[in-house]
């Protein structure tokens, strides 16, 4: 029988129903009372985060689908647009994010093993790397603005980006570039907010071997945001035919 319907032997062994048996057994303040046991709460939180990440996949998925479809319609324009992106910045950002996922995983491990100082250090490093990512992104955006490559707001419709690429399709590419990386950046900022809360709670000693679930699920979120970037980087920066 799965955890969701707990083993009857556990509950009827003492002749008392589960709730009465466990109600006054010592548990930390973190156990919310609609849960019967800490294990149940932990599993519920983790499943909840995975379900949430599934929704995020569909959210970004819509954009990825639209991007793929337009890319197939307007390959020259999308390749031209892609070549106007700064691959070095993108690669640096990829390294930064992978690094931040490493520090995040270290933070989770630190929480699991009860090492408060290490946990705090790793969280701070993760946040620093996240800010570095956003900083690099900002410089890229500023450069595009400077070059009149921001659709709708600051776009040079007379520019000829590439011989075979109509201006409109390059503009479409940049629409997707800004939407997709912008949405990703918003998720990064939200992630930094979550990390700030986790940092404060960790500093206060809230997490230990017995209870580290928020760190774990924040880690899941952070890794997810990293993975989205792992897809964005090749799709936007690398497959523009620049390496033929």
């Amino acid at each position: 029988m799965r955890k969701g319907a707990r083993r009857m032997s556990e509950t009827v062994s003492s002749g008392l129903p589960a709730h009465a048996e466990r109600h006054h057994v010592g548990h930390g303040p973190e156990l919310r009372h609609h849960f019967e046991e800490a294990e149940q709460q932990h599993e519920a939180s983790t499943l909840g985060m995975w379900v949430f990440l599934a929704t995020e996949i569909l959210f970004f998925g819509g954009l990825f689908t639209a991007y793929t479809i337009y890319r197939s319609f307007y390959l020259p324009g999308f390749e031209a647009g892609s070549r106007l992106l700064d691959v070095k910045a993108g690669a640096a950002n990829t390294a930064v994010l992978i690094g931040s996922s490493f520090t995040m995983a270290s933070a989770v491990h630190a929480a699991q093993t009860g090492k408060r100082k290490l946990l705090v250090t790793c969280l701070i490093l993760t946040m620093i790397l996240g800010c570095v990512f956003l900083g690099i992104k900002y410089t890229e955006y500023a450069e595009h603005w400077h070059e009149f490559q921001v659709p709708g707001l600051h776009w040079d419709s007379a520019a000829t980006f590439f011989k075979n690429a109509p201006n409109g399709s390059v503009e479409l590419f940049f629409c997707f570039y800004f939407f997709m990386t912008g949405l990703h950046a918003v998720h990064m900022i939200i992630g930094l907010g979550i990390m700030t809360v986790m940092l404060i709670l960790s500093w206060r000693g809230r997490f230990a071997e017995k209870y580290f679930s928020p760190i774990e699920i924040s880690g899941l979120y952070w890794h997810f945001v990293d993975i989205i970037w792992i897809f964005l980087f090749p799709l936007l920066y690398l497959i523009g035919g620049r390496y033929q």
């Binding site: 075979n164 201006n167 409109g168």
Partner: protein, 333 residues
């Protein structure tokens, strides 16, 4: 009440109601494909009524027969029956499969216009329909056609998505900006019938309606000739061809900067990317409004875009002109 008798009952009801002048249940059947669509509709109605009445009457019967007679009664359990479950899964599946095959083959048949179809061009714009005959006459919110002749409508929109719907022919198709959609019909009954816009398009969507006049061939010919506008579509296209300077690069005496259009319609050309494309209506339209998207091999990509300078009607006239210069319409359209 089995399905066959339901079907016959429905057909009879429809037919009877059709004769009752103030309460028709279906529009007049005025095209070659309308009757077959009606047959499918009858069958679907029969199936719907059969199951709806069947379920309702079974429920009603059970309600009465098994009504609760005392508060304490506990009915015996009825065992789930796998054969029963399979039966009422498989039979609906077979019915659906049959309907799918019938409907799809009818749809397939009806979607391909006959080769000898007479072409009329339709442009939807908020909130009116412009219709253009190749011989020249232009109509607004009216469509004159001869009976018994297949007619192909090539349609586009100037602005938002519209939909051209002729109930008596049982046809409709969305009319989109930036591309051509086609439908066809062959009218079988002389008369005057509605057409409607059937895709919401703004304030006067419900005003975007008109009349189809199906006339005898002789009446139609007389109507064509009486039309004041003597310029055919191709003639208009030729005029525009000169007016917009197309003749400079593409004309027979032109400087050869652009490909000669003689005989080009329906043939294949090669783009710089190596792709082959057929020169059809959509291709010509794209070449006029967005030539950079179709750079041809062997030609410098210097053709300017005419987007905003020509409207959809003029584009259709130019296409008609190019068609007039060349081979027959390609089968691949």
């Amino acid at each position: 009440m089995n399905v066959t008798s339901s079907y016959q009952l429905c057909a009879a009801v429809y037919a009877f109601a059709g004769k009752w002048p103030n309460f028709p249940l279906k529009p007049p059947t005025a095209s070659t494909t309308a009757a077959s669509v009606d047959h499918l509709q009858f069958a679907l109605t029969a199936i719907t009524l059969f199951f709806t009445i069947g379920i309702f009457s079974t429920i009603f019967y059970f309600m009465v027969r098994y009504r609760r007679r005392s508060e304490d009664e506990i009915p015996a359990e009825t065992q789930t029956s796998l054969p029963l479950e399979l039966t009422w899964t498989i039979i609906p599946t077979l019915i659906c499969a049959g309907l799918f095959v019938w409907a799809s083959s009818l749809y397939f048949e009806n979607s391909r216009p006959p080769n000898a179809a007479m072409e009329i061009f339709v442009i939807g714009k908020q909130w009116m329909w412009h219709l253009q005959h190749t011989e020249g006459p232009r109509e607004i919110d009216e469509l004159h056609v001869p009976v018994g002749v297949p007619v192909k409508l090539t349609m586009t929109s100037e602005d938002v998505i519209h939909d051209f719907f002729i109930p008596v022919f049982r046809i409709k198709k969305d009319v989109l900006p930036g591309r051509y959609s086609t439908i066809w019909f062959q009218a079988t009954k002389i008369g005057t019938y509605h057409f409607f816009c059937a895709q919401y398009c703004g304030t006067d969507h419900s005003g975007m309606i008109g009349w189809v006049y199906v006339m005898s061939p002789s009446d139609y010919a007389r109507w064509l000739n009486s039309n004041v506008n003597k310029e055919t579509m191709a003639g208009g296209g030729q005029r525009l061809f000169t007016q917009f300077g197309c003749v400079t690069c593409h004309g027979p005496g032109g400087n050869g900067t652009g490909p000669s259009l003689q005989g080009i319609y329906g043939t294949q050309v090669t783009l710089r990317t190596g792709q082959n494309r057929t020169v059809d209506d959509a291709f010509i339209r794209q070449a006029i409004v967005n030539p950079n998207a179709l750079p041809l091999a062997n030609f410098a990509p210097i053709m300017p875009s005419f987007q905003g300078q020509v409207d959809e009607e003029q584009i259709l006239q130019l296409i008609a002109y190019v068609k007039s210069l060349g081979p027959e319409e390609s089968e691949m359209k």
